[in-house]
């Protein structure tokens, strides 16, 4: 994998402990001068370690997408600081890839052209681009649909195309906003295994937003649980699971227990969220 890495080799010699450092970040939508807006994030401080798979769990509307937009550099940080090993985040960059909740494919491009777009921007030679794009289309099981337009695909297929497009440019940091939300149970499981395998091979720093407790426990090294809006980090849990063992991880008692425990924590927040909505 590293041999095919399209970006220049990492030259920084930082110890690489901090992947993404989020310090005291708050975010408001609308309103002026701090008045009358919606507070989406309330003093978030979170250290995401380099090369860890970090899952973000929280009720709907708690600001998970907003936090990813801030890390991605799409929305300016209003207060606080977000820093990666490449420095303070001030805007988007190809070393922070994102899979949006609503896919955001380019509708006038075919699946292949969508995946090629990022590779063209990286300046890869034409032959390599094609090979690489086809490899990742194959990886998300979309072979045969290279020339389909997004409007000809199901929601789940569009989601997989968007995943291929982002994985193809091999970003150092991978931000994923419920990337498997539109998939059926089987495809979802296959994609989860595929993603974890990619992660084991490439050791990116992954921030993975999900509603699904099982998914978080299955994929992540650490899990942050956010409170109902305004979003705060409520709990951070380690998932200490020996993944090298070949058995079905989801059937182990420690997996089930951890899931139960997290579900309890999330449930409280979800109830608070529905109360807040009325």
């Amino acid at each position: 994998m590293n041999a095919a890495r399209p970006q220049p080799a990492r030259t920084d010699t930082a110890p690489g402990d901090v992947g993404i450092e989020i310090r005291d970040v708050s975010h408001q939508y609308g309103g002026r001068g701090g008045q009358g807006g919606v507070t989406a994030l309330d003093h978030i401080t979170l250290h995401i370690r380099a090369n860890e798979f970090h899952a973000l769990l929280g009720p709907s509307g708690c600001g998970k997408s907003t936090l990813l937009y801030l890390i991605g550099g799409f929305v300016p940080v209003q207060s606080g600081v977000i820093e990666t090993r490449r420095g303070v985040v001030t805007g988007p960059s190809p070393d922070r890839g994102i899979v949006f909740q609503n896919f955001a494919l380019f509708p006038w491009k075919t699946v292949l052209q969508n995946v090629l777009y990022g590779l063209e921007k990286l300046g890869l030679p034409k032959k390599d681009r094609e090979d690489r794009a086809r490899h990742f289309i194959d990886l998300v099981h979309l072979s045969g649909f290279e020339n389909a337009y997004p409007s000809q695909l199901s929601g789940g297929m569009q989601q997989r195309a968007a995943i291929a497009r982002t994985l193809a440019v091999d970003p150092e940091i991978l931000l994923m906003d419920e990337p498997f939300g539109a998939l059926d149970a089987q495809t979802r499981r296959v994609m989860q295994e595929e993603l974890r395998a990619i992660f084991e091979r490439t050791r990116k720093t992954v921030v993975f937003v999900t509603h699904d407790v099982q998914e978080a426990v299955f994929l992540a090294d650490r899990i942050s649980i956010m409170s109902a809006r305004p979003g705060r980090i409520q709990h951070i849990l380690d998932v200490d699971m020996d993944r090298s063992r070949g058995d079905e991880i989801t059937k182990r008692p420690e997996f089930v227990d951890l899931g139960e425990h997290i579900w309890g924590l999330v449930r409280d927040q979800a109830i608070a969220a529905t109360r807040g909505a009325h």
Binding site: I98, A104, F106, P107, K121, F145, Y149
Partner: protein
């Protein structure tokens, strides 16, 4: 780059799509569908109207000066085709319409995009466009004649001016409607601002821009003929006015038929272009 051991998995849907089962339709069904296809029906409607025109005039129900026979009109067009007048008139009209249209669109699209993306540009031009769009553009003709003279320049400026408004407002609305995530996607791959505009914003706004263009095309043709009628000289509008002045009603109707055919061909052509450019769009498949 080897793939990890994972269950071999080909989505059932993929296989289903890859091999669509073509069903042989019955001959009769195919013929019927052909007979009732949209184009055939549209042509049939026009044919019925033309036959009615010829019948009514042959039966002497209307005075031939008020409504000459279709056959007489077609004969005139045929003769004008033989001596080249039709091509001269149509060619000139088409040239003026095209020149004005392209100038108008070339100004309107960048301006519409800039209005949507830049507050300063928006503040300055939004009121101008709002005032100008509903105004009868032809009322500016005397000013254009004053500024640009009595020849082609003022005609073309007039046409460009009237094509400009539908396209600028459609482009503005279309650009405003481009959702932020698609733009962010491009930026996350390292697209610069100018690339985002060209590679993302324009294609995303294209359906609406084309809608504006589809309005501008007939508006441009109408403006061309009206301008020619008001200013005279060669071109279909001028020829029709000349024929009218000599009480040559066959000549006037010949002009009407010529501009009708030209307009229909151009409008159909633009429709085809839209279908081709938007083949990725859900609207292309029902």
């Amino acid at each position: 780059m080897t793939r990890p051991a994972s269950p071999a998995f080909t989505p059932a849907r993929a296989r289903g799509r890859a091999a669509p089962g073509p069903q042989a339709p019955s001959m009769l069904g195919a013929v019927w569908r052909r007979l009732t296809s949209d184009t055939v029906i549209q042509l049939a409607v026009i044919a019925v109207l033309l036959i009615a025109w010829e019948t009514v005039t042959r039966l002497g129900l209307v005075h031939p000066f008020l409504l000459p026979r279709l056959s007489a009109v077609l004969e005139r067009i045929y003769n004008n085709a033989l001596n080249g007048k039709v091509f001269m008139d149509l060619g000139l009209t088409l040239y003026r319409a095209a020149a004005g249209f392209f100038i108008g669109v070339a100004v309107a699209i960048p301006l519409g995009v800039m209005m949507a993306r830049n507050a300063g540009v928006r503040w300055f031009f939004d009121p101008l466009v709002s005032i100008g769009f509903p105004m009868p553009k032809i009322s500016f003709l005397p000013i254009f004649i004053l500024w640009f003279g009595i020849f082609d320049t003022s005609k073309i400026v007039m046409i460009a001016f009237s094509c400009f408004f539908p396209v600028v407002s459609a482009t503005y609305a279309g650009t405003l409607g481009v959702d932020k995530w698609v733009i962010w996607s491009a930026r996350s791959f390292g697209a610069r601002e100018s690339q985002v505009l060209r590679e993302v914003v324009l294609p995303m706004a294209l359906p609406q821009i084309l809608t504006g263009i589809q309005i501008a095309v007939p508006v441009g043709l109408i403006t061309t003929v009206v301008t020619e009628m008001l200013m005279g000289g060669p071109g279909i509008g001028g020829s029709m006015m000349a024929a009218g002045r000599f009480a040559d009603s066959v000549g006037v109707f010949a002009g009407i038929v010529e501009i009708a055919v030209l307009g229909a061909i151009v409008v159909k052509g633009v429709e085809r272009m839209r279908a081709y450019l938007l083949r990725w769009h859900a609207e292309a498949r029902h």
